[in-house]
Assembly symmetry: C2
Homo-oligomer: 689 residues x 2
C-alpha cells in the first residue's frame, strides 16, 4: 500500500513536470538546471518504487533522502533556494580552505602516529586510521583533553603537539574559513543588490520607452501610466494609481520624466492613507473625556512613567529570583499562587490599559514593543487562570513569567538596536533554519535507513564509549539506583529522535560518543556518515555566522554613516502627496473614459466626497511602507550606485535605445515587457542569477 | 632569602619609577595612568614583601599575579600594550552583550529549575545554583547532550528547552558578540590609522614651516633638509640623505614644495642601492660557465621544472602515507631508514643546488618560499644523519618529513595568498599570543596559590566527575590493567602544569571536569575562578578571531579593489632616482661646507668614484622597503583620506599658520619639534592614544 501511494504521488509530480515541459519547450527545459535535477531524481524514485512494488519487499531506500528537492522547488521556498545558491556559491573557496585543513590533519596524523604509537596505553593513535579519526574529532575539540592524556602522562612535552595542532587548525584555519565565507558572502550580497538594481533600472528604461508616445517623447502621461499600473498591479485601487502617479511626479508637470520614472520601484509598494488632521485619537471626544484622556496621554508619554515601569519590572525580576532561590528543590506549581504574582500582574494590566487609553489603540498596536508587553501580560494572565482552574497542561505558561524582564532591555539604545535587528533578521533566519532542516531531513532519512535500532541500552560493549550506553542497577547499601548512560537515547529509530540526535551532532560536543557507539554496532564506514554530516553542518553554520556578522556589521556601519540611529525614523519610508480638488475631478473624468465599470472608481469618488464633506479644496495623503534592506543598501552604497549607473548607461543604453525606437508605434499601454522583461544580450550579466 | 631577593627587585623598579617622577615632573606623573597603576602595584607588593619578611612565613600571595604589569611596561612590549588597549576599548560594547547573555541565562535557569527540578534523577537542575552553573557550562557546550539526557529520557519534548536555549545563546548572542567586537575592532583600526596619518601630516606642516627661510618661503633647500635629516636619522649616510631629497623632489626645482614634503614618511624608510646593470649574477663569468649557468637558469625558471618538482613532492607524500599505513602499529625508527627517504632527499638536494646555481644565492635567499624549501630539506638531511649515527633524541626530526608536502600549496594562488597573509600576520599574532600568555601567567599564579596539590589520583569521590580522576587496577581474566582517568594531571601544581591546564580550559571541551574536580576538593567559590577565566579568554579569543577576520577580509578587499593580487609586486615599495654627475659634485661641495669630518661623506664620494669608473654621467639608484599595512590602508581608504585631509586643514591649519609665522626667524635647521611634536590643542583629538 505504502509503495502504491508513493507511486501515485510520484505520478503527480511527473505530470506537473510534463506540463512544464510542454509549456517551456524542450530546449528551455533541458537548459534549466533545477528542473533537470528534479527530473532525474523523479525517474530514479519512479524506478525504485516500481522495483519495490514488483519485489514486494522493502530494502534500503536512501533515495528518499532526495525528496526535499521536490519541496524546495515550490513557490514558497524561494528564500531556501536563495540560501542554497549562496551555499553553493561560497563552496569553491570553502573547499579550498577545507583541503588545507585536511592536509594539515593528514600531516599531523602521520606525525602523531609516529610519535605516540609506541605507547600501548594510548588507544587514540595506535593505527593511522585511528590517528586520523582522533585528529578529526580533535578538530571539533570534542575529545580534547582525553586524547592528549595518555601521551601527556608519559611525557609532559607531548602537549606541544596538541597545542600546535589546535592553534593551527582550530584557531587559525577555522577562522580563516569563516573569513573566506564572510568575504564571499559579503561580495555575493553586494553583487546581488547591484544586479537587482540594474535589472530594475533597465526594466524602467524599457518601460519608459514603450510608454512614451511619439507626440510627447519626453514623458509619460497619467493615462498611459494608469494603463501600466492596471496590468502591473491589477488589485491597486484607482486612488492608489492616481496617488502613485502624483508621488512620482515631482516636477508638477502633467508628464513623468525619465528621472521621475526611475523612482518607480521605491513608490510602488506604498500604502496610502489620508493624513489625519487630529493629533490624538481622543480629540473629537467631549471636553471632560478629552481632559481625562489628555492627562492619561501625558502621563503615559512621560519619562517618569516609563522609568517607574522599569523599576517595577526590575523589582519583579529580583522578586522572582529570590523566590525561586528560597524554595529551591521540591517545587510544585499547583499549591503555589504567590500574592506577588497577582500584584505584579495587576500593575502590568493597569499599564496596558493606561497605554491603550492614552495612545489610542492604533498607535499602541503599531509598536512591536507594546505588542510584546501585551502578549507577555496576556500570557501571564492566562497562566493565572490555568492555576486558578487547575489546568495542569498549561502550567508551563506560568513559568514564562521571567520573560517580562526582557522589557528592561528597552532602556539602552544598543539593546534596542540588537533586538530590532533580531526582528529584522527573523525572516532570513527562518529561511536559513528551514534550509538546515532540509539538510537534517535528508541526513535523518539516510540515518534511519542505516542505523535504525542499532543502539540500545547496554550495547556497544566492544567500543571505548561503552560506559555512556550502560544501564545497570547498582546497589548502594540498602537502596538500588538505576545508573544510566542515557546515550542510547541518541538514536535514529524515528524521525524525531533522528532530528534531536542530529542537533546534538550539530552542537558537536561529545558527538564522537554517538559516532563510536553506532560504529561499534555497524561497520567503521559509518564514520563517513557522521564526518560528512559534520562538514555539511559546518558549512551551513559558518554561513549562518557570516550572515549574522554581515547583518550586524552592516547595520552598525549604516547607523555610523548616517549618524542618526536607524530606529529613530521607525515609521519606515513615508511619501506625502497633496491632492487638489480639481485634479481629482479631472482624474475621475479620465478614468471614467478608460474604464467603463464605475465600481472600480469608488475609491476615487470617496476621496472627492471626503473633500466635499470637510470643505477643504485639497487633501494630503501619506504613503507608507516598511523599510527593507534594499533601502538601507541604497543609502550605504550611494556613491557606488552612481558609478554602477554610469557604467550601465555606457554599456547598455545606446544599444537599447536603437532597439526601442522601432517599437514606439506599438500600443503604448502594453506592459508585458515590464513583467517578463529580458535584458538585452549585451547586458545579460546584470540579470539576477 | 626569596623574599629578600624580591624586595631587592622591587627596590630596583621603585628606583626606576622615582627617576621617572623626577624626569617628568609631578603633574605629568600623576596624570599618566599607566605609571600610576604601576606605582600602586609596586607599593602593594612592597608592603607585602616586608610583611612576609617580618612574619617569616609565606601566605597566600595573589599579588604575584600582578607582576606582568611591570613586564608589559617595557619598551619591547609596545604591541602587547596596544593589544591590551584594544581589548579595553572593545570592552564596553562587549560587556553590554555579555549582560544580555547572562540575562538570558538567568531567565532560562529559573525556567529550567521550575521545569526539571521535580525530576529527582536530574542532578543538573536540582537547585537554582546548579541550574545556573549547568547553563553556564552549556553555553560552552561542554556538557551538552549529558545535561539534556535525564530530562529527555523523562519527556521527549524537554529537548525544546535546550534547543531554544542553545539557538539563542550559542548561535545568536555569541555571534552577536563576535560581530560587535569585529565592528569595534574595525573602527578602532581605522581611527588609529586616521589619527596617525593626521598626526604625521601636522608634523610635516610644522616642520615645513620651521624649515623654510624668510627669503625663500615656498620651499626647503637641500641644505636645510640635510640639517633635518641629520637630527632625525643620525645614522643615515650622506648618500642616503641626498637620495631621499632627490626622491622627494619630483618637480626638478632646487626646492622641496609642501606637496613634495608631504611624502616624507613614505620615503624615509627606503634602503638605497645602485641598480644592477647585470640581469643575472653569472653575466660576468667566462663564456662556457655562462652558458652552463644560463642553461640551469632557464631550466629552473621553466614551468616544467616546477611542475616536475610538484609531482615529486606529491609522489613523496603518497609514498609516506602508504608506508605509514602499511607498517601500522609497532613502529620503531632506528631499524628503519627506507631507501625512498634517501632517494627523495637526493632529489630535493639537487633541486636546491640547481636553484641556487640558476638564480644566484641572493635572489634565491630573498624568497621566503625558497628559504622554507631549504630549511625543510636541511632538516630532513639532519634527520638522516641522526638516523645514521643513531642519535636518539633527534629522531623527531625524521618525523617532520611530511612537512615537505606543504610545498604543494604553492600551486594555487589562493593558498599562496593565505600563507603570505599568515606570514604578514605573524608579528601581530605573536603579540596577541604574548598578551594571552600574560593573562595565563596571572591566572596560573592565582590558580597555584589556591589550587596547588588539591587534585590527585582517586580524589574527588564526592563529585559527579569522580570517574575522570580514578586510577585503579582492574583484573580482566589473568592480566591486570591500570585504568586511568588521567584528569588528575590537569592540576595547578607548578607553572607548566598550570599553563597546560589553562590551555585545556581555553579549548573549553570538558573544562567542567577540571572545574568540578577542583570545586569538590575546595569550596564552590572556586567556580568563580574558572568562570572568570572562561570569560576573559572568551574576550581575548574573540579579539583574535576578529583580528584574523579583519586581516583577511581587508586583504581580500584590497586585492579585489586593485585587481592585481598583492603579491604580484612582491618587491614592496620601490622608488627610482637618477643622479647626475654634476649634481653629485655640487652636493659633495655643499656637504663639505656644512660638515667638517670628511669620512662622513665617504658614501657620497664612493658614488662619484663609481661613476668615474664606469664612465657614465648618471647613475640610477633604487630605494626599496617592504610594504606595510599602512601602505595598504593608504590605497584602501584613498577617498576617505582626502576627506580627512580636507577636514583637518579646515580645522587646524589656519590656527597653526598663525602660530608658526612667529617662529620663522628661529634657526631653520632646528628639527626638535619634528621629533617631539605635540599637536596644538585644537587638533588634539588627532593624536594617537
Amino acid at each position: 500500500v505504502h509503495a502504491t501511494l508513493e507511486l501515485l504521488a510520484l505520478l503527480l509530480v511527473g505530470f506537473e513536470l510534463c506540463m512544464k515541459l510542454r509549456w517551456l519547450g524542450f530546449h528551455t527545459f533541458i537548459r534549466h538546471k533545477r528542473t533537470m535535477v528534479k527530473t532525474c531524481v523523479l525517474l530514479l524514485q519512479f524506478v525504485e518504487a516500481i522495483v519495490v512494488l514488483v519485489r514486494q519487499t522493502s530494502h534500503m531506500r536512501v533515495t528518499r533522502a532526495l525528496r526535499p528537492i521536490f519541496l524546495v522547488d515550490c513557490r514558497y521556498c524561494g528564500a531556501v533556494r536563495r540560501n542554497l545558491r549562496q551555499i553553493f556559491q561560497s563552496l569553491p573557496s570553502f573547499i579550498d580552505i577545507l583541503l588545507l585543513l585536511l592536509f594539515f590533519m593528514v600531516i599531523f596524523a602521520i606525525l602523531g602516529f609516529c610519535l605516540f604509537s609506541t605507547n600501548t596505553a594510548d588507544p587514540y593513535f595506535n593505527s593511522l586510521e585511528n590517528s586520523l579519526v582522533s585528529l578529526f574529532v580533535l578538530l571539533t575539540t570534542a575529545n580534547f583533553p582525553d586524547v592528549m592524556m595518555p601521551a601527556y602522562s608519559k611525557n609532559r612535552w607531548s602537549c606541544v603537539f596538541f597545542i600546535v595542532y589546535l592553534s593551527i587548525e582550530l584557531y587559525f584555519i577555522m577562522n580563516l574559513l569563516l573569513a573566506v565565507v564572510f568575504d564571499t558572502f559579503n561580495d555575493v550580497e553586494k553583487m546581488k543588490f547591484k544586479s537587482l538594481l540594474l535589472h530594475k533600472r533597465s526594466a524602467i528604461d524599457h518601460a519608459f520607452q514603450l510608454l512614451v508616445s511619439r507626440q510627447r517623447p519626453m514623458g509619460v502621461s497619467l493615462k498611459q501610466f494608469d494603463g501600466l499600473m492596471r496590468f502591473y498591479r491589477p488589485r491597486m485601487s484607482a486612488r492608489g494609481r492616481f496617488l502613485t502617479f502624483k508621488a512620482l511626479n515631482t516636477s508638477g508637470a502633467p508628464m513623468l520624466s525619465l528621472q521621475d520614472f526611475y523612482k518607480f520601484y521605491e513608490v510602488i509598494g506604498l500604502k496610502w492613507k489620508p493624513r489625519r488632521s487630529r493629533e490624538h485619537w481622543f480629540d473629537d471626544l467631549p471636553h471632560t473625556a478629552f481632559l481625562i484622556f489628555k492627562g492619561i496621554h501625558l502621563v503615559v508619554k512621560s519619562k517618569a512613567f516609563q522609568y517607574a515601569m522599569y523599576v517595577v519590572v526590575a523589582i519583579n525580576g529580583v522578586w522572582i529570583l529570590v523566590e525561586t532561590f528560597k524554595m529551591n528543590s521540591g517545587y510544585s506549581w499547583s499549591e503555589f499562587v504567590p500574592l506577588s504574582y497577582i500584584v505584579f500582574l495587576t500593575i502590568y494590566g493597569v499599564e496596558v490599559l493606561l497605554k491603550i487609553a492614552g495612545l489610542g489603540p492604533l498607535a499602541y498596536f503599531s509598536s512591536g514593543w507594546n505588542l510584546f508587553d501585551l502578549s507577555v501580560t496576556v500570557f501571564a494572565f492566562l497562566g493565572l487562570i490555568a492555576l486558578a482552574f487547575n489546568m495542569e497542561p498549561f502550567y508551563f505558561i506560568v513559568v514564562l513569567r521571567p520573560f517580562q524582564l526582557l522589557r528592561l532591555f528597552k532602556i539602552k539604545q544598543r539593546y534596542r538596536n540588537v533586538l530590532d535587528t533580531m526582528f529584522e533578521l527573523f525572516p532570513r533566519m527562518a529561511s536559513l533554519g528551514l534550509t538546515l532542516i532540509i539538510f537534517y531531513y535528508s541526513f535523518a532519512i539516510v540515518g534511519m535507513e542505516f542505523f535504525a535500532d542499532v543502539v540500545y541500552p547496554n550495547c556497544c560493549n566492544t567500543s571505548t564509549v561503552a560506559d555512556s550506553y550502560r544501564q545497570i542497577n547498582k546497589t548502594y547499601g540498602n537502596k538500588t539506583v538505576l545508573e544510566e548512560g542515557y546515550y542510547y537515547l541518541n538514536n535514529f529509530n524515528n524521525i524525531l529522535s533522528s532530528f534531536v540526535t542530529l542537533f546534538e551532532l550539530t552542537v558537536v560536543n561529545n558527538w564522537y560518543i554517538t559516532m563510536e557507539g553506532v560504529t561499534s554496532m555497524t561497520s567503521h564506514w559509518s564514520r563517513l556518515y557522521f564526518m560528512t554530516f559534520y562538514i555539511v553542518t559546518m558549512v551551513v553554520m559558518t554561513i549562518i555566522v557570516a550572515f549574522i556578522l554581515d547583518a550586524f556589521v552592516f547595520r552598525m556601519n549604516y547607523s555610523r554613516k548616517n549618524r542618526d540611529p536607524v530606529d529613530k525614523d521607525e515609521n519606515g519610508i513615508v511619501f506625502e502627496v497633496e491632492v487638489m480638488r480639481d485634479e481629482a475631478v479631472a482624474t475621475l473624468e479620465l478614468y471614467k473614459q478608460t474604464s467603463p465599470t464605475p465600481h472600480s472608481l469608488s475609491s476615487l469618488t470617496a476621496v472627492l466626497q471626503a473633500m466635499d464633506k470637510s470643505g477643504h479644496t485639497s487633501c494630503v495623503y501619506l504613503g507608507r511602507r516598511s523599510r527593507t534592506k534594499s533601502d538601507l543598501s541604497m543609502k550605504m552604497y550611494e556613491e557606488e550606485i552612481q558609478e554602477w549607473y554610469a557604467e550601465y548607461s555606457r554599456e547598455c543604453l545606446p544599444q537599447g535605445d536603437e532597439n526601442l525606437n522601432l517599437d514606439q508605434n506599438s500600443p503604448v499601454t502594453d506592459p508585458s515587457p515590464f513583467q517578463e522583461h529580458q535584458p538585452n544580450s549585451q547586458c545579460e550579466h546584470h540579470s539576477i542569477n
